[in-house]
């Protein structure tokens, strides 16, 4: 049984079940709230309703097959999940330094586009929870453009799975740069629109400022990461501290705020969208210089050979057959890779015992760690503040339950 506070036998206190089917809990999160009037005495999150055993399933797949499973953890930023898993595998295979620059640039552009798409969903639903219905429609409108870019490049809108160990599946099609450039051109004005609706809106500010406050020390102790940590004044971003995919070659700021409340996290994420646009813009400038470059590591034991070679070269056909039937085989060992997901530090920890399947694949989900702090944020506040707090830590249940 769930342990609520010692006073729960008190007849004045009411136990309220919030979720798992509740629109403002962003998925299937169940919160047990102990209420004194409308004040929260204690809060106990119950998770696991979306547990699908992805980590266990990966152990029965080979290294290539597991890529599509990682999409399904955090379903709002599949390219970033793919990237994290693939980076860990590349370390395990020892090819992380050999990935061609063009593949890296494509990965960065797609990651940042997805970060904006994920933040748009967060912004739309967070504002909707707090009573503002218009930003929801606006955010969906722009997210649709990003999904159209996804579809243009990969053929699917959400579960893109275009990342491969050692590079990406295919080069970007003609016209990709133009589409992304159009998006980057219009997006800053659209972010201005959202800010005009929310940033100085007295209702929104009343509902968010001073709510769900957490200090810098507590945020570190409780393992916060990502925009939540930066909202509490710690300038930590994996893209800056442990650069991957050539992020050290991009110029961008890490927005942060010292307030540590819901409003601070809102401001941090809004500014992050603008920084992502800067990164995409620089990525687009790097694309033409690498035109024509092959987009995977040239190692036939790990990466698929070019399609044309399979038809003309016997060796390539054999390599292709081995990679499809058996998959790449790393030496035994382990590797941890981390990336900056829209929710914080996403880590994938792959263990190998020298066979063609991962011995274990641990997914360190940022929302999992961030959510365990929720009781601390809401205790002593009102029920309505719970909704604001859940929205501000931007949880994705698919990643929490895995």
């Amino acid at each position: 049984m769930v342990m609520l506070s010692e006073t729960r036998t008190d007849q004045d206190h009411m136990i309220l079940n919030m979720g798992p089917q509740h629109p403002s809990t962003h998925g299937v999160l169940r919160l047990l709230l102990e209420l004194d009037g409308e004040t929260i005495v204690s809060c106990a999150p119950e998770i696991g309703y979306l547990h699908t055993g992805i980590e266990k399933t990966i152990e029965a797949r080979n290294y290539h097959q597991a890529i599509v499973l990682t999409d399904r953890t955090d379903y709002l930023c599949p390219p970033i999940n793919n990237l994290c898993y693939v980076l860990a595998c590349e370390k395990l295979f020892g090819i992380e330094k050999d990935v061609p620059e063009r593949a890296q640039v494509i990965r960065v552009i797609m990651s940042e586009l997805t970060r904006i798409a994920s933040h748009l969903i967060w912004l739309g639903t967070h504002a909707l929870d707090l009573g503002a219905t218009t930003p929801f429609m606006y955010c969906w409108r722009e997210r649709e453009q990003i999904l159209a870019i996804n579809e243009f490049y990969t053929g699917v809108r959400m579960m893109t799975s275009f990342t491969r160990i050692g590079g990406v599946l295919a080069d970007v099609p003609d016209g990709f740069e133009q589409r992304v450039a159009d998006f980057v051109r219009i997006m800053p004005r659209r972010i201005d629109e959202y800010e005009a609706l929310l940033t100085k809106n007295p209702i929104f500010v009343d509902r968010t400022r001073g709510i769900g406050k957490i200090s810098r020390e507590d945020a570190l102790q409780y393992g916060f990461s990502g925009p939540c940590l930066r909202g509490s004044g710690v300038q930590f971003d994996v893209r800056v501290k442990f650069p991957y995919c050539g992020y050290e070659g991009y110029e961008f700021d890490v927005p942060y705020s010292n307030d540590g409340d819901v409003y601070a996290r809102y401001l941090v994420r809004i500014r992050e969208m603008r920084e992502s646009l800067r990164i995409i813009d620089q990525g687009l400038k790097k694309l033409p210089a690498t035109k024509g470059q092959w987009i995977r590591v040239d190692n036939p034991r790990i990466c698929f050979p070019p399609r044309e070679k399979i038809h003309t070269s016997m060796e390539s056909l054999i390599h292709h057959f081995k990679l499809v039937s058996e998959g790449p085989v790393p030496q035994s060992g382990e590797a941890y890779a981390c990336v900056e997901s829209p929710r914080g530090e996403l880590g994938t920890y792959v263990f190998s015992d020298g066979s063609n399947k991962p011995q274990r694949c641990r997914i360190h989900a940022p929302s999992f760690v961030n959510l365990q702090t929720l009781p601390r944020l809401v205790e002593g506040r009102l029920v309505a503040d719970v909704v604001a707090c859940i929205g501000s830590i931007d949880i994705i249940l698919g990643e929490i339950d895995r």
Partner: protein
């Protein structure tokens, strides 16, 4: 993080002028460990560096379960650099090892932007490792998850119960002896022909006769 060599300070590996290297019985040079691991080994001699490939380059040390709380306290409050953030707690099961349940901690130092990894293994019928919740509250849910998935008990944990699986679930799903659940699938070759059933627990890509 610079890897300072222990060999510089030890005279046994330095070449002596006038003598051929073959003439002198030279002991094997002491292994060179990363700086922070070396500090840890000097302070806690019971720790050791596992003979294993760490492809990500994070300095690693294995520790005895009895010492883990003392060591992370030292790393967090006294060591230079201070490892003030607990990044991840991961469990693993190696059935063929003497201590099959392995818990891996990754710590991070904000000031020095450095990381260190600690490994702690337990075995026996009821594997147990002291809990780190007293040092970092961040360990609460990850430890519950490892308890749920591997059945490792964390001594001193304030709220150790299942987190992802239902409370009445039997077994620990990520153990290697726990079968990967699947339903039998029937493959039909032709409408009138015999059907072929793949039993649950069989190969993922079975060969159809």
């Amino acid at each position: 993080m610079a890897a300072t060599g222990r060999s510089e300070s030890s005279p046994s590996t330095q070449a002596v002028p006038g003598q051929t290297p073959q003439a002198q019985p030279v002991a094997a040079p002491p292994p060179v460990y990363p700086e922070n691991v070396q500090k840890l080994l000097d302070r806690f001699p019971d720790c050791w560096v596992p003979d294993w490939r760490f492809a990500d380059g994070i300095p690693t040390a294995a520790v005895q379960p009895e010492q883990i709380v003392e060591i992370v306290r030292w790393l967090r409050f006294e060591c230079e650099p201070r490892f003030d953030v607990l990044v991840d707690v991961a469990g693993n099961h190696w059935p063929e090892r003497e201590f099959p349940f392995e818990v891996t901690y990754i710590l991070h130092s904000l000031e020095f932007n450095a990381r260190i990894r600690l490994k702690c293994s337990a075995g026996g019928e009821e594997p147990a490792i002291p809990s780190l919740t007293g040092v970092w509250p961040a360990a609460t849910w990850p430890e519950r998850e490892i308890y749920d998935m591997f059945g490792v008990t964390f001594e001193g944990h304030p709220d150790l119960r299942r987190i992802l699986m239902p409370e009445d679930w039997e077994g620990h799903p990520l153990r290697k002896d726990f079968p990967l659940g699947e339903e039998p699938i029937e493959f039909y070759r032709q409408p009138e022909g015999p059907s072929i059933t793949v039993p649950a627990g069989g190969d993922i890509n079975p060969t159809i006769p």
